[in-house]
Symmetry: C2
Amino acid sequence: MKVNIAEKLALFAEHWKPKVVAELNGQQVKLVKFQGEFVWHHHKAEDELFLVVHGRFRMDFRDSSVWLSQGEMIVVPRGTEHRPVAEDEVAILLFEPASTVNTGNVRGNLTSDAEWI
Amino acid sequence: MKVNIAEKLALFAEHWKPKVVAELNGQQVKLVKFQGEFVWHHHKAEDELFLVVHGRFRMDFRDSSVWLSQGEMIVVPRGTEHRPVAEDEVAILLFEPASTVNTGNVRGNLTSDAEWI
C-alpha cells in the first residue's frame, strides 16, 4: 500500500522512461531517471511538476534555465517549452495528469508510455 | 520559480497546518508538520497523497496501520477514514486537489485553511 521511492528507483536503470508508482485524482506520480539532453517539447493541456529525488539537473526554457538539486521542485505550466538536461544521472519524481506523454507535442525515439512498476 | 522544500519548511513551526507551495492541474502541493495525534476523518471527493520528507509517522486506518518513513508515500483514497499519528515531529509533502480541507468531513480546532508560503 505504501511506496518506497528508493526501492522503486532500484527496479529500473534506463533513462527518460517514466514509471508510474501511484495514481490519484486523475493524476499520476512517476519516477524517472535522466541523463543527457532531452528533446524540446511542451504539453498542451498538462502542467508538470518535477521534484529532484537525488542528483541535479538543469531545466532549459527558451529564455532561461533553472538548476534543480535534491529537494527542489519546479512546475512547468502547460504550453511552456522545456528541455531537461542532466550531466550526471538524476532521479526525479513527476506529478502530472495521467494523460501526460513524456515528450509532449513531439513524438520520436524518446517517446515512452509510462508503465507501472 | 523553483521551490526548495527545506527552505519552505524552515518558514513555519506549527503542526497540522498545511502550507501551499505549488499548484498545478487543479491540485496543490502542500507542506505540513505533524506531531501528536490528528482527528479521524475522510475526504469525500479527494484522494490524498502523503510523502514523508523527514521523520516518520503512522497512518491509522480503521482496520490497519501503516508506518511511513522518509522517502515513503501513501495514497489515501477518497472516502477512506484515516488518522495520522506522529510520536516525533515529521515533515510531510501532500499532493491533493486544491479543494481539500485538512480535516475532511470533520470541522474543529484542527481545521485549517492552507495558506501559501
